[in-house]
Symmetry: C2
Subunit: 429 residues, 2 copies
């Protein structure tokens, strides 16, 4: 039996989960691969804190763990993008395989990291950075390696999906559903990363890197969250045969451009992506050979993340034993670029609040027509007496720029009330 | 660029697809892994037939292809279990990686094959044998390697799923839907492998091998097909909130027994497995760490099968270049056994045709009660005038043996008409 020494840097919820899950997993890994993982070093911010859950005393300086000759593979779980980068760099220099669950690190500094790793030939593993319990990066890198990918889409933030599911199923409004998510531990006290689409944006960037060898500049990815979604929109979407999900979309446009975005999006209720409920994640893709493939599972939590970290550790350990190099890293392409945001073409949902007067629908529809935007469906509930009524449109595909012009004109009409609510619509395959 | 020589044995629909898809895939594999695959030998049954699609002249004797020093990896696509076994054996002896899409070979002779491969250390690859375009074997072997699997279930025969989908959506009866499947090329002229559950049984055995290191004796796996499903049952299931799918179930019972079966099964309409439509396949599993994971995609067809074969070829080629051993093969467990068929415990759907007379429901319900089988739901449509009416029951979990006794007693009642229709119900997670 080959024993491989592991060093752990950072030991919060995910690290504790890894330690707790290791003994049982080790039994399985031993049986399946003939390898045992052994934690031989732990670094934490404050080693003076009593931590009965740790199998050995922690140190405060991660450099000691990386330098320890008994440590053969290092797992980084500190988060952020600067200390984590330094740890990765030290591992690569020491030629010790580096395993991480850190999506921000990959999304924001992946280009540098991969360049370092490729130069030295020292492997990095990051399955746990996207969609926790679903081995989707491995599938992209290996299982689907012969496929040209025609596009990817995913529900890759469980907190947002939980909130949107509650809004759809219990008719809750956003803030009630958010509070529920916090009470259940699905949402952090600081909810911005999850609810404003940043976490999903990080994962979308990593999926884009794996699928297209192109890591977009994170600050240039259009990212929208779900704060502005009202229970009214959820209900109108339902009436039209759609559900609203926070969807990451990655799709090539021609051979050198790519569209990457995260936005609340209407999906056909019948599509398998629409039946991904609660805190579950899903990644869908279309391969030129495989056709549409969808992976569904838990995207977060210490156990699902342990599943991915332990798979990476097992693979890194097997490669060490076999003296094999790590997985091939995508060779970042220099010629790819993100499309201009306004050049995006797609279908949209628009809800416009208008005065309940004759002729308003004709005016609004006329403006869509003058921008050459077809209307595929209209919904106008009966007026609620005095005041405004919502006019809901599902539109045919149009450039975002045309839509923006149309909406600006519509909002200037005497009988409409700004702002309009605009959401993406994706019919998927 | 490393060029690796491939030998192809058998060249029907799948082989032709592989040849057609290779050039484009090679571009991607070169870019992603720095490897090129080159077909250097082809053996077919009748080499005298003109085959303009072949890149080089075919020979009739596969031994020449296996022995050719320019051939480094062999792909077997002849099907069946005897010649294919001989080819595998010859490859293992020659220490040439063996790649196959042959599920019958693995399911029926996998034990011998793995023993040979493990003894010699020469690798075998068989991702294409289960669920074509979905890289599920790799996920079980690698991505989920740290998980104890609490159970697997799958829709793994596309033809049957197409037929059941048409029955549910268009209200067709079985024979109409089967004819449609044949017209579309989804079903073979000889439909028995697909429609009677044998193909799904083969794949279930392979999934069991990967998940539990146990290859059940194929003839001992209880396998039922979908010929007896009537549009009536599809419609009753729908009214009860279920859909009927041909489901493979693999679940451990205690630590040394396992239940493996293929049977038409009612699934809750809300479960993601229920929205797997048409010719699509899906495999679901529950890992102790990952939680529930579901993979959905195309299970058959030359393109989806090429996706899996080319991934295996790329991996085999990379391992050759890296001088790394192939993937770890499951070490077949000697202590595992299949449960006795009658020991199976589960929920059932029963449709019993009865004379429309007072007291019959009470008699039937009384018999279920005397066998301690709870009734969770009953459906009795209004009588259609003279003759029989169906009584439909959804039952609480009970041993199959109790159910069989109850049904035998019910069928002997003066006012019931044998045979009753019995289907499995699985609520899944």
């Amino acid at each position: 039996m080959n024993k491989i020494g592991i060093g752990l840097v950072g030991c919060g919820t995910v690290g504790s989960g890894l330690i707790r899950n290791l003994p049982k997993a080790n039994g399985l890994i031993a049986q399946r691969l003939g390898i045992q993982l052994e934690i031989r070093g732990i670094a934490v911010k404050d080693p003076s804190k009593t931590r009965p859950d740790l199998p050995l005393p922690a140190v405060g300086d991660w450099k000691k763990v990386v330098a320890d000759p008994a440590v053969q593979i290092v797992v980084e779980l500190v988060g952020g993008t600067s200390e984590s980068f330094a740890i990765a760099e030290a591992c690569i220099q020491a030629r010790k395989p580096f395993v991480t669950a850190n999506k921000a690190l990959l999304a924001e500094r992946g280009q540098e990291l991969i360049a370092l790793a490729q130069k030295s030939g020292s492997p990095i593993y990051f399955e746990a950075s996207v969609a926790g319990g679903i081995p989707v990066l491995k599938a992209l890198r290996e299982g689907l390696v012969a496929n040209q990918l025609l596009g990817l889409h995913g529900i890759i933030n469980g907190t947002s999906n939980y909130i949107l599911t509650r809004m759809a199923e219990a008719g809750s409004d956003f803030s009630t559903a958010l509070k529920e998510a916090k009470d259940l531990g699905y949402a952090e006290a600081d909810d911005r990363l999850d609810v404003d689409g940043i976490d999903a944006g990080h994962k979308a960037a990593i999926l884009c890197l794996l699928a297209y060898g192109f890591l977009p500049k994170f600050s240039e990815i259009p990212v929208e969250g779900i704060r502005q979604i009202s229970s009214q929109d959820v209900s109108f979407a339902h009436q039209l045969g759609y559900v609203i999900k926070l969807l990451a979309m990655i799709k090539p446009v021609g051979s050198e451009q790519i569209e990457v975005r995260v936005a609340p999006t209407l999906l056909p209720a019948r599509h398998p992506m629409a039946s991904v409920h609660g805190a579950f994640n899903a990644v869908g893709l279309i391969g030129n050979l495989s056709g549409p493939v969808q992976f569904t599972g838990r995207g977060a939590g210490p156990d699902a993340t342990s599943s991915a970290l332990l798979a990476d550790l097992a693979e890194a350990a097997k490669n060490l034993c076999d003296k094999a190099p790590g997985p091939a890293l995508p060779k970042p392409s220099s010629k790819m670029t993100l499309i201009e945001k306004d050049a995006s073409v797609g279908r949209f949902y628009a809800r416009i609040e208008v005065e309940d007067r004759p002729g308003v629908l004709a005016q609004v529809a006329g403006i869509f027509g003058s921008e050459k935007i077809g209307i595929s469906s209209v919904l106008q509930p009966e007026g609620r007496g005095a005041g405004s009524v919502p006019l809901v449109f599902l539109l045919e595909p149009a450039p975002l720029s045309s839509l923006q012009r149309a909406i600006a004109s519509i909002c200037k009409l005497p009988n409409t009330r700004a702002p309009a609510t605009i959401l993406r619509v994706e019919d998927l395959l």
